[in-house]
């Protein structure tokens, strides 16, 4: 941005190359990919280092890892039952990745990976592919019972079955749109309010007083964003667990 008083809340979502070689069509590490790698490395590094001691009386770092494990394990068991624990590694990885990516997005000048719908949509498609593939592997053609609710008279089935199919297909869309929209809207809101501080502050002493209002607002919204970042990671994981539950028990 050339003019510091000009506010450009979308600028933060731009994809840039951190480094590249091979020219056009060659390999390039974008800022999005960089923060995905950073998220994964930080998660892996933290979990490995904190649990390396395997103490019976855990250190603080180990307690955090154990709490994360138990939190996700309880969530998976609540949503998908004992059998759903087969998917615990996947759901734990999903939850930790989304959580770490959201939290890294909260740092100034960092890139919010989950603010791009293609990233969240890829995660959601991964979940729904697992549901479809595992559903057919486990239940065979009986998996299609998911689209035929029990106890529905035959003459309404021509309406109910397409509705159920569209409802199923809308899951990855709603799953990805929710996460992406929350992060995108939150980051834009923070930027817009922070921009008000600069523009009002340029108006002299009265503007200086006025600028304190958006300053408080920015602080409050940042706190809200931190909560939303954690909450949306949880919602993403818990809904994935519920959809996997459908693959295990296809009849409603």
């Amino acid at each position: 941005m050339a003019d510091p008083t000009r506010v450009d809340p979308i600028h933060q979502f731009g994809i840039t190359n951190v480094f590249s070689f091979g020219g056009e069509g060659g390999f390039a590490l974008t800022n999005s990919a960089l923060f995905m790698v950073v998220s994964v490395v930080v998660i892996l590094g933290y979990l490995l280092l904190s649990t390396a001691g395997r103490r019976v009386v855990p250190t603080r770092a180990q307690v955090v890892s154990e709490m994360l494990y138990e939190f996700v394990a309880n969530m998976v068991q609540g949503a998908a039952g004992k059998e759903g624990m087969k998917f615990f590694p996947f759901l734990f990885a999903l939850f930790m990745f989304v959580l770490a990516a959201n939290m890294f997005g909260m740092f100034p000048y960092f890139f919010a990976v989950t603010s791009h719908i293609i990233v969240t949509f890829a995660l959601a498609m991964l979940v729904i592919s697992i549901v479809i593939i595992y559903g057919f592997l486990r239940n065979g053609p009986k998996f299609l019972k998911l689209f035929v609710p029990a106890g529905v008279p035959g003459y309404v089935l021509p309406i109910v079955v397409p509705i159920e199919i569209v409802s199923f297909l809308s899951r990855p869309v709603s799953l990805s749109v929710r996460l992406f929209a929350n992060i995108l809207a939150g980051h834009i809101t923070v930027k817009v309010f922070a921009g008000f501080i600069v523009s009002l502050g340029a108006l002299g002493w009265l503007g200086f007083l006025g600028a304190s209002l958006p300053l408080f607002m920015t602080i409050a919204i940042t706190a809200l964003e931190l909560m939303i970042a954690a909450l949306q990671a949880y919602v993403f994981a818990v809904l994935s667990a519920m959809y996997i539950n459908d693959a295990i028990h296809p009849s409603h």
Binding site: I159, I163, V173, V177
Partner: protein
């Protein structure tokens, strides 16, 4: 877990351990209740904003997906715009279905307190 039998220990020590076991049991119980409440609060979004986002996205996604499928089928079969119109309505139905399911989940996650006054129902009319 009931107190383990510890017969070969002196009486005061046994009392101490049984007391400790009871305290551990009650602390665990408290923790479970708390965890359950936290889970109920979190599912479906603990905030009203989270709930609104959940319901809104569930509904809109179904309408968009339905219409999109209709659009693609139309382009493929050359019957524009009829399948899209039908699929728009079906998507609308699917959206309502999604929202009903989501709300049912939210209700199940946080049932009203037993003695809550939920207003008059059919049985109250005389």
């Amino acid at each position: 877990m009931p107190n383990p039998p510890d017969t070969n220990r002196p009486e005061p020590a046994r009392k101490v351990t049984s007391d400790l076991a009871a305290r551990i049991a009650s602390a665990k119980k408290d923790h479970q209740v708390e965890a359950k409440e936290a889970a109920a609060r979190a599912s479906g979004g603990s905030t009203n904003l989270g709930r609104a986002m959940r319901l809104g996205s569930e509904f809109i996604a179904a309408v968009l997906v339905g219409t999109g499928i209709g659009y693609v089928l139309d382009a493929w079969l050359g019957t524009r715009p009829w399948i899209m119109l039908v699929m728009l309505l079906i998507g609308f139905g699917a959206g309502i279905l999604n929202v009903t399911r989501a709300v049912a989940e939210m209700n199940a996650a946080s049932p009203p307190p037993k003695d809550a006054d939920l207003g008059p129902d059919d049985e109250d009319e005389t």
